[in-house]
């Protein structure tokens, strides 16, 4: 499903990651564990086709990312959910509109948009707050809405870049529980984090990365 083969990334003469190889299988929950600046976010961006590797190969669903034509990248991204530490919600749209937006860009019919957006918000436990704007929501609630947006298109994998970075312990646990729940429904999860307490969690795998190298 996701495979990195001897991937190195150099940006502005700085080596961000070096000779990284790993894979994520269907339905797996994998933690990418490492301190800040280890290269975790860059790996997620490589999978999301935001950047291309300097050396090595990145495969997503069997396709090598450098060979994917630029015009087809948006369609690949629709099958990859992505959530961030800072949620990245549109401030001038309600929770419902933020989730629906992900469906609207695909040209889905209004009825389907409404149905799936409500379903996704329900999954994350935010159906009762669908008319609220991000400014009216707590950090945990914003992240839930971001997760709803990420899963509304039923991606095969969910990339999470420090999703609990701005949350307290209780909210972090709740978000982790939600991601586990999503994983159990069949979606693979690759979560970048610096929090050691997540390692060792049952039914998950940990990939350690430090200074751009695995191990």
């Amino acid at each position: 499903m996701i495979r990195l083969e001897n991937v190195s990334l150099v940006l502005n003469r700085t080596t961000i990651i070096e000779d990284v190889s790993f894979q994520v299988e269907k339905g797996e929950f994998v933690f990418l564990l490492g301190p800040s600046g280890a290269g975790k976010s860059s790996i997620l961006k490589l999978i999301h086709c935001d950047i291309m590797p300097t050396m090595g190969k990145v495969f997503v669903q069997g396709q090598e990312t450098v060979r994917i034509p630029q015009r087809k990248v948006p369609f690949l991204r629709r099958s990859i959910g992505f959530i961030f530490q800072d949620y990245k919600l549109l401030k001038d749209k309600t929770a419902f509109e933020n989730v629906a937006f992900a469906l609207e860009v695909t040209g889905a019919k209004r009825k389907i948009v409404k149905q799936k957006a409500l379903q996704a918000l329900n999954t994350v436990g935010m159906a009762h707050r669908l008319g609220h704007y991000p400014a009216d929501l707590s950090g945990g609630e914003c992240q839930r809405v971001a997760i709803a947006r990420a899963i509304v298109l039923e991606p095969f994998i969910l990339l999470a870049d420090e999703p609990t970075g701005n949350l307290d312990k209780d909210n972090s646990s709740a978000i982790l529980e939600l991601l586990t729940q999503i994983n159990h429904s069949g979606t693979a999860v690759l979560m970048a984090t610096h929090k050691n307490e997540f390692a060792g969690k049952k039914s998950t795998r940990v990939i350690n990365i430090t200074g751009g190298r695995l191990g």
Binding site: K88, L89, L90, F101, R149
Partner: protein, 282 residues
């Protein structure tokens, strides 16, 4: 957001003024061309008579000219007729202040149908010039060639001005759209995140450029038409104004296409400007 709206307003006003300028220059060129064509197509030669020529000799001269093979007909214009014509064209105040009527008598010669080229008129003028009792012969065409050069220069200047103004309009809109794209960077990044195609992201900005251009076109259309009607209202009593137009006043813009194309031209400029901005930034 407020800054972006302000820039959009400035952009619309700038394009509006630019389109009005293009309209004025185009109209002046067309009027100048119309006047030249009218003169070029004139079938009349005016023979101005000296004050010393007696009425009897004037009648004899008129008969001689009208019997020429290249002349269709003649018409005598007395000093009084000339004064009335002058007052009708330029207003009565000018002549009434003079003690005597300075306008000469003249014979208006209408050329025969097969002899209306400028060379035929020149030939007749050459025959009549120097005849006793004739002050001068005017057939207009002698200075048409000078006007042709003037028109050519005018058209070239207009083409250069047009290119400069159009380029400036496109750059203004492009700049405004670029600022709008920058202001919406966050939203654009999220669109890319969720898998929006480049076309989906770009399309609203094309529409924005188009709308800016159409609004500018409509404003310039309204202002230009209003300006034109005002000029007609102020000067329509003067026949000289109607003469300079080269055709009958009908109450409508004679070269209406200049005004008709302002809205679509504005729209095209808007789309071009946004196209350049969007291709550069998204």
């Amino acid at each position: 957001m407020i800054r972006t709206r302000y820039m959009t307003l400035i952009s619309i006003l700038t394009i509006t003024l630019a389109l009005i300028m293009i309209g004025i220059v185009s109209l002046l060129t067309l009027y100048a061309t119309g006047i030249v064509n009218k003169i070029r197509g004139s079938e009349e030669v005016t023979v101005y008579l000296t004050d010393e020529l007696s009425d009897g000799d004037m009648l004899a001269l008129d008969e001689t000219i009208s019997s020429m093979s290249d002349v269709q007909s003649t018409r005598i214009v007395s000093k009084e007729d000339a004064a009335r014509e002058f007052e009708r064209m330029f207003g009565s105040d000018l002549l009434s202040s003079l003690e005597t009527n300075p306008l000469p008598r003249s014979i208006i010669v209408t050329m025969a149908e097969k002899h209306r080229a400028s060379e035929d008129m020149k030939r007749l003028a050459d025959r009549l010039n120097g005849v006793s009792g004739i002050e001068s012969v005017d057939y207009g065409s002698e200075w048409v060639s000078k006007l042709d050069i003037f028109i050519l220069i005018f058209a070239l200047v207009e083409a250069v001005l047009f290119t400069i103004i159009v380029t400036a309009c496109i750059l203004v809109i492009s700049n405004t759209i670029t600022l709008t794209v920058i202001a919406r960077k966050e939203a654009i990044d999220i669109m890319k995140l969720v898998g929006a195609t480049t076309g989906f992201i770009r399309r609203p900005f094309y529409y924005e450029g188009l709308i800016q251009g159409l609004i500018s076109g409509f404003l310039s259309f309204a202002l230009f038409y209003g300006l034109y009607l005002w000029v007609h209202y102020m000067f329509t009593d003067l026949d000289v104004y109607r003469f300079m137009l080269g055709f009958e006043y009908s109450g409508y813009i004679s070269y209406s296409w200049i005004v008709d194309i302002m809205i679509p031209v504005g729209g095209v400029l808007g789309v071009l400007g946004s196209f350049i901005a969007v291709r550069r930034t998204i």
